[in-house]
Structures are given as C-alpha cells and as structure tokens.
Amino acid sequence: MSAEPILAVDNLEQRFKTPGGLVYAVNGVTFQVAAGESVGLVGESGSGKSTIAKSIVRLGEPTGGSIVYRGQDITHLGDNQMRSLRSKLQMVFQDPTLSLNPRLSVRQTLSEPLRLHKIANGKADLDAHLNRLMDLVNLERNLLDRRPGQLSGGQRQRVGIARAIATEPDFIVLDEPTSSLDMSIRISIIELLRNLQQEMGLAYLFISHDLSTVRYLCSRVIVLYLGTIVEEGTVEEIFSAPKHPYTQALLSAVPIPDPALRSSRNRIVLPGETPHLTHPIVGCPLADRCPYVEPSHREGRIPMVSVGPGDHRVACLLYQDGSGAGATAPDASEAA
C-alpha cells in the first residue's frame, strides 16, 4: 500500500452486554484498506467480522479504538455528521429481501439516495441517473416500476447494489452479498461486483465466510478468529501458503469441487468449536484448539510478525523468530 489508506481501523474493540455477561466480540483489530483495493474479511461465526463491518458504516458504536475514513476520525460521529459521509461510504447487505423496502418500487428505492444527496436535479436528470444505474447493474430498465416481491433473488441483489453505487461512493462494505443466492446466480453477482470495482475504482471490504468467493473477488485477505486478526496477506499468500494453524484448518475444511482430488486431500480438523468469549483474550485465542500449543502461548498478547517479503503477517508464536520457518511451525504446503 503506497498512498494514504481510504480506511484505517486502529485497535478496534467491541464488547456487548448480554444476559450471560460481557461478550468480547472484537478485540483490538487493526487494518487498512487502500483506495480501489478489495479486501476480504473472513472468519466463522463469532469471529467478529460482521460487528467490524457494522462499526465501519456506523450501525454500531465501537467500545474502543478508532475508524478513520480519508483522514477523518468517524468513530463517534453523530447521525447528522455521518449523513454527508454516507454517500461515499456504502454498504450492501446479505439478504436483499430484508434490506429493500417491500412497498417501494425499484424507482423509488433508487431515487431516494439520488435526491437526498442532491445528485440528480429535476425529473429528466433523475431519469437519466436511474437508467444509467440500471444499465450498470445489468437490469432491464422496465423493471424500474416493479417492487422487490416481483423480482428474483438475483435481481433484488442487483437493486441492492444499484442503491449502494447510486451516490457514487468510493468505499463499499459488502456483507455476505451472495450467501442467500443460488450458485448459478451467485457467479453473475460476483462478476458484476468485480466489473463495478474496476469501472468505478471502488474499494471493497468484503465480509464473507465463503473462501472461494473471497479468492475470486479480493486482492488481500484478513483472517479473523474470536475478534482478533490471526493472519493477513495477499490472496495468493493466504491461499497458497497459509501460516496460522487456524487459517490452515479453515482452508483445508473447504470442500473442493473436484472429485479427482478427493483422495489427496489433507484435512486438518481442529477439535471443538469456537467458544463464546466472555473474558478478555490472554495469549493465543486458538490455544485451546491448536495442535501446536505450548504453555508459553497462553500468556501476554501475541504480536503480528512478518512471514513473507510483502505484507504477509501472522499472529502466531511459531513464527516468532521472523524467518517464518520455526522448528515447530506447521508446513503450510500440507494444508493446501
């Protein structure tokens, strides 16, 4: 990353009060997204990925740390101050059936942000903008007067995307935008997102549990476990040479749609399940499930160390000597 990041998240913390006590959802997460970059934020349930996404678009207020967008600290901005930023900082939600107002036509849904942010002036200009939006997301213009209930799932998500790009944003948080869609529809939506990114120079923060989609859409990946970053790197680095035992297990668990590879799979199965974090993390968050754990891993805070020539970094004491080839370090090639 050369230029100033479009988004800088620093030491983000989010705790929730629940009937069962305090839950530590996000625990000191730091990362940046450059302009025009597509970053994947991956993790399983309880990883904190959706909580981070919500904090960024201010649908939740973090309990610690900061979020800086284009040099401006937006961590605790009020609704009014945030409104002007919302045109540039957009979000596409998981389920378009829930995120679109069922009573509004596509035209009404898309006109709202165009008017609110004074992008379109007058009826002719509005129509021109609407037509252009429909073209951009490959929807027939005659669908403008339909309501969400009269559209297919794929068409609805295209409307969700059109609404997000209507205000010409430069940063979009995509929260599992394809997970409610059928396979053959999914690929066309991902392809649309890829094309829009290139045409409009958008930066994406793509939240997903679907690693295949992340590999396809993103250039960089951040892997979360229990609200902490355990590894980050380019798509190539993470998918070809994962270092953290959690990343290795996660990647090895993804079914590969190729029966020819069935017998050659080397699956790493971590024992147990992701716990609910009801106390602050001490030591490695994976300690209770990691096959390489040692007593010293359960103390202090695990720093991110560099394990490659680029920005490939991992929070794992097995790589502490900096070489990325510690004596006990698992061989990443086995996991691929």
């Binding site: 998918f239 993804v254 079914p255 590969i256």
Partner: protein
C-alpha cells in the same frame, strides 16, 4: 431382478404436486422422476432452490406435507412400495429401515425433552431395551458421534447446544435406529465450514463402517465432489442428469448441469468459471444408438419447440433428460 441386484431404493416416475392457490389444481413440483440408490452407495441429489430436491427426499419417508401430495409413481424400499404401506408398516420403515436428518437440527429435536431422553426413547421404544440399558447405550452413542462430554450433553436441552453439537445428536439418534438408508437434507447448511468438515467426516466414517446407503441432498457441489459416488441433478422439478461423480464434473452433458459446473468457484485454484466469462450453455444434440436427441434446459423449454422429454442413456450409468428430434437439420438451428 434378484434380491442381490435389486437397488435398496428405487424411485419410479415420481410426481408430487401442490394445489394452486387460485383454482386448486395440482401444480407439480416434482415431475416424472426416477432414480435408484444401491446398497452401500452414496448418492448426491443436487439442485438450486425450487428444484424439488427436498420434496423428493421428503416423499421417500412419506413426509410430504399436505396439501402437497404424491400424484404418481412408486417408491420402492427393497422392493416394498412405501406409498402403499399402512401406518404400521410405515412405522417399521421410518427410523428403522430408513432415517432422515434435516437442515436445522435444533428444530428437529423436541425442545421440552433432554437429549438423553430423546436418544434413549429410540432404544426403549424401537429396540425394546430397559431404561437403564437404554441410558448406557445413549451415552455410548453420544460418545461415538464425537461428543466429548456425553453425560453433560445427555442432561441438556436442545437450546443449550450449538448447531454442530445438535447435528451430532441427530446423527446419534439416526445411528441408534441403525437404518439401511439415511437421507440427509442439507445436514450442514448454516454450520461453519470447519464444523461442516467435522460433520461430513463423521457421516462418511459411519457410512463406511455400517455400509448404510446415503442419499445426500445439497446445493453444494464441493460437498458432492467430496462425499458422493453418483449424482442426480434436478432443475425445476425434473431430473436432468444422472452420472457417476467424476463424469458429472469432467463431462457434464445437460445444459443446466454445464451451467452449474461452469459456475463453480474453486478455493484451491485461481480459475475463471466458464459462466463468468459470459458463456451461455446452449441446447446439446446427442446421438444415441442412431437416434438424435436434444437436451434443453427446463427453463427454456417454453421457447423451444420440443417433444416429450425422456431420460436418455449417453453412456453406461450416465443419463440425460432430452427429447427426440426427427429432422436433425432443423433441431440444431
């Protein structure tokens, strides 16, 4: 057919309908579907939403929810037609010769009963065990499905379990029935990928140990590739292709199957799926034994002038839904 070669499950010309809301006429959600599951075989039933895969699976245990009903066809379990059975015979089949696990394990469990009582009841009712022995067998079974603290889980209620743990319990209940056929309907949908891997590892282990036949319903071609030997593909209520798993991925014939396989994103390779390159998947003309057939996607039938579709065998064990074409020159156009 001799008993040895008879398939464990044979679904023949199955049609299932639901009444149209407006005029009450039956609207078919599954049409003229036939396939078999052999002993010790793992068959995948794959399709997208609305394909009829779940309705097909439910009908095997006669679980079609009214007002939906089977309109036509036979469902033979080891030669006995499930659709003709009386309640007593049906009870013998359900949870005994054939069992089913569902997508949302927590809602399939009784929320008011402890796990121990739910599993134990299978032993006392279906196996005639004494309560004490059933309790021991329950703990043993929970241990066998990889539950670390079986006594603690046995004393729990369903809402106290995670999704992965609840699915393990469902598998334990299924195993307690010791069925010849297991139908698993999206058993890992909604579970995290590492938990999904654990569950499939368990199901495969059990299948290899007990040689039960497995009919796995899923939308995930990755799961199909890793678990199944044979695959049945459904689109809009029709079976469009049946093939050995290797053939299905390497050499799919039906346009719809080609579109599905062409939509695959691989986690292990950086390849652009065919569907993302803007390819469409046009109708194919097949030559079988001197006759010409055309395989057309079900959703585009209306726009093509077609005859009556049938399953055509293009290679041993590889069938494709197609219709005969008389004049080759016209059909190809």
């Amino acid at each position: 057919m001799t008993e040895m070669h008879r398939p464990l499950l044979a679904i023949e010309h199955l049609s299932i309908g639901f009444p149209n809301e407006r005029d009450g006429t039956m609207h078919p959600v599954v049409r003229d579907s036939s396939f078999v599951v052999n002993r010790n075989e793992v068959v995948g039933l794959v399709g997208e939403s609305g394909s009829g895969k779940t309705q097909t699976a439910m009908s095997v245990l006669r679980l079609t929810k009214p007002p939906g009903q089977v309109l036509h066809g036979r469902i033979l379990l080891d030669g006995d037609d499930i659709l003709q059975m009386n309640d007593i015979q049906l009870r013998q089949v359900r949870g005994n010769r054939a069992a089913m696990i569902f997508q949302s394990p927590r809602t399939s469990l009784n929320p008011l009963m402890t796990i121990g009582n739910q599993v134990g009841r299978i032993y006392t009712r279906q196996r005639g065990m004494k309560k004490k022995d059933a309790g021991d067998a329950t703990l043993e079974m929970l241990r066998r499905v990889g539950i670390a603290g079986p006594a603690r889980v046995a004393a729990s209620y369903p809402h106290q379990l995670s999704g992965g743990m609840a699915q393990r319990v469902m598998i334990a209940m299924m195993l307690a029935c010791d069925p010849e056929l297991l139908i698993a309907d999206e058993p890992t949908t909604g579970l995290d990928v590492t938990i999904q891997a654990q569950i499939f590892e368990l199901i495969q282990e059990i299948q290899q140990e007990t040689h039960m036949a497995l009919l796995l319903i899923t939308h995930d071609l990755g799961v199909i590739a890793e678990v199944c030997q044979r695959v049945v593909v459904m689109q809009l209520g029709r079976i469009v292709e049946i093939a050995p798993v290797d053939t299905l991925f390497a050499d799919p014939v039906h346009p719809y199957t080609r579109r599905l396989v062409g939509s695959i994103l691989r986690p292990d390779l950086e390849v652009l799926p065919a569907a993302a390159r803007g390819n469409d998947f046009p109708p194919v003309v097949l030559e079988v034994g001197g006759d010409r057939y055309q395989a057309v996607s079900v959703d585009s039938w209306r726009s093509v002038n077609v005859g009556r579709p049938e399953m055509v065998e293009v290679a041993p064990g590889h069938q494709v839904l197609a219709h005969a074409v008389d004049a080759p020159s016209e059909a190809v156009a």
